[in-house]
Amino acid sequence: MAMYSTKFLLIQCAKNNLQRCFSSQKGQVTSLYEFHIKNGGKMVNFGGYQLPVQYSDQSIVNSHIFTRKNASIFDVSHMLQTEIKGKHSIEYFETLCTADIKGLEENSSVLTVFTNENGGILDDLIVTKINEEFLYVVSNAAMKQQDQEIMSRGLNSFQKRVNSASDIRIQFFHTLERTLIALQGPKASTALQSITDLDLSKLYFMKTAVGSVANVQNCRISRCGYTGEDGFEISIPAERSENVVQTLLENSDVKLAGLGARDSLRLEAGLCLYGSDINGETTPVDAALTWLVAKKRRETKDFPGADKIVQQIKEGSKIKRVGITSSTGPPPRHGTIILSEDGQEIGEITSGCPSPTLEINVAMGYVPAKSSKVGTKVGLKIRGKQYNGIITKMPFVKSNYYNKVN
C-alpha cells in the first residue's frame, strides 16, 4: 500500500537539469542488491537505499504496462518491518494511530497513519493484527528513524500508565534480516500459487498468512500492494530471498520492476507518497484520507491530534487533496502551481506523471475545498506557460483487488 516514501528523488529533480537528475551516491543495500545488478538493475540512491529505478530489459513505460497485464516483482526491503508482541499490544499501538485495531479480525491488515498533536500525518503505514498479542507493521523507509522513535517513546509512556503492559516487546527488523518483495499484477496470484503451500483463493485483499514460498519456510504473505492491482507483499528470511525471487522469475509472466514503474503505478492508483503528497502539515481530512480515521476512534478520540481531526471531520477542511488530469501539455509535477479558471493561484501539485495506461497526464495536489469538485476546470502553470487541467476522481485507473464476493 501507500508505503514507500521520501521525496522521490527522480520526481524531485523537476527543477534540476539533466546533469543533476541522476544522482547515484552510495546508500545502504538490501539483500537483493547483487541480484539487481546481475539482472540489469539501474541502481539509484532512494531515501538512503540502493534500489533499482528500472532494469535494462524494459523501459519504465513497458515495465508499467507489463505490471498492469502480467506481474512484476519490486524489492521493497528498504521499508521498516516491525513486530510487536505481548499483552496490551493493540491498546498500546492504538495510542499512536487512527485505526480500529481492536475491531480488526485476526490476520487482517489496515492502512493507517501516525499523527501529531496538530493532526498532521507523521507517516502512513500498514498494521497487521496477527492475533490479540501480535502486530506486524510495515512503514516507510525514509521515516525509519522517526517511526522507531514514535513506537519506542509511545511504548514508554504507555507502560508508565499501564503497569500490566510491561511485557510488550518491539522488534525492528534490519533491512538485511527480512527481505520484503511486492509481487503485483493480475497474474501475481497464479504465479505465486504454483510455488506456495498456502491456498491463495482464500487469502483476500488485506489478509495475511505464513507459509512456504519456493520451499523457503516462514514467509509472510500479505495480500496488498501499492499499484492498484491484485498482488502480495512477501516478507522473506533475507538469506533465502534470492531463491524466492529467482523461482518467481522462472514464470514468463513475471518480471522485475523498479522504482520508476512503482511511482507511476501508484499515481494511477491514486495512492499517496509520504513526503510528497502527505506530510506533517497535512491532516487526514486535508488529504482526503478521512476513511483512515476509524468510526470508533472518532468517538474515543484517543490518538494524537484527535480533537483537531474530529473537529475537521465535522466542519470540513480548508484544503483538499484531489486528482487532476490534463490531456495536452507537459505533465504537472511536484510544485506545479494550480490556477482557478480565472487565473488565480489556488494550490499546488504534489506529484504527477504521464500515465502509461491512460496516455494522459495524471497528478494529485491540494486545492481549496470549495474548488475541489470533480469536473472543475483548473489551469496548470508549467515553466511559465499555462495548460488546462480538470479535477478528476481517483483512482485514475480502476483498482483490481481480490475482495471476497458477498
Binding site: L10, C13, N16, L18, F22, Q54, R333, P354
Partner: protein, 164 residues
C-alpha cells in the same frame, strides 16, 4: 560523433558493409570517426551536444542523457526566433520519471526546431544523434565553442562523479 549520421549512413554502408553502428542508438560508445568533412559533435557538462556547420549549430541530448531520462513523452522546444545565451534554459524534456530542462550549449538565435520530435518525442530515445535533434541555432559567439568537450573528453567526463 563527428558526422550527421543520416548522411553518414548512405555514405558509409559501401565502405564498411556493416550497418550495425547505425542502427544502434549507442553508436557513440562503439565508434569514433575521424572524417572531418563535417564538424565534430561537442558536448556540455549537462549532456547536450551541438554540431556546427558554418554559422548553424544543431543541438540535441547525448545518448547517456536519453538513456538516463528514459522514455521521453513530451518535448518543449524553444520557438523559432528565440534568442538564447549560452547555458540559458530554453526548453524541457519530460519522461515518466522526470522533467529535465534543456540548456543551450551556445549563444544564438533559434532558426529551426524539430517539429517531428514535438510530435514524436520517442525519437529522442531511438535516435538522439540524428532524427532526435532538438533545435538549430544561428551562432552569435563562436569563441564559446572552446568551452565544450569533444567526444573523447565527454566520455572521460561521464566516468567522473561530477557528471552524475
Amino acid at each position: 560523433m563527428a558526422v550527421v549520421p543520416r548522411i553518414w549512413c548512405s555514405f558509409s554502408k559501401g565502405v564498411f558493409h556493416n550497418n550495425q553502428f547505425f542502427t544502434k542508438s549507442s553508436n557513440l560508445k562503439s565508434f569514433h570517426t575521424s572524417l572531418s568533412v563535417f564538424s565534430e559533435k561537442l558536448f556540455t557538462a549537462k549532456h547536450e551536444w551541438v554540431q556546427v556547420d558554418g554559422k548553424i549549430g544543431t543541438v540535441g541530448i547525448s545518448d547517456y542523457a536519453q538513456e538516463a531520462l528514459g522514455d521521453v513523452v513530451y518535448a518543449q522546444l524553444p520557438d523559432v526566433g528565440t534568442v538564447v545565451k549560452q547555458k540559458d534554459e530554453c526548453g524541457a524534456l519530460e519522461s515518466v520519471k522526470a522533467a529535465s530542462e534543456i540548456y543551450s550549449p551556445l549563444s544564438g538565435k533559434v532558426v529551426e526546431k524539430n517539429v517531428a520530435v514535438e510530435e514524436t518525442p520517442s525519437l529522442i530515445n531511438s535516435s538522439c544523434y540524428d532524427k532526435g535533434w532538438l533545435f538549430k541555432l544561428e551562432l552569435t559567439n563562436e569563441t564559446e565553442l572552446s568551452e565544450l568537450m569533444k567526444e573523447d573528453k565527454y566520455k572521460e567526463f561521464l566516468k567522473t562523479e561530477e557528471s552524475h
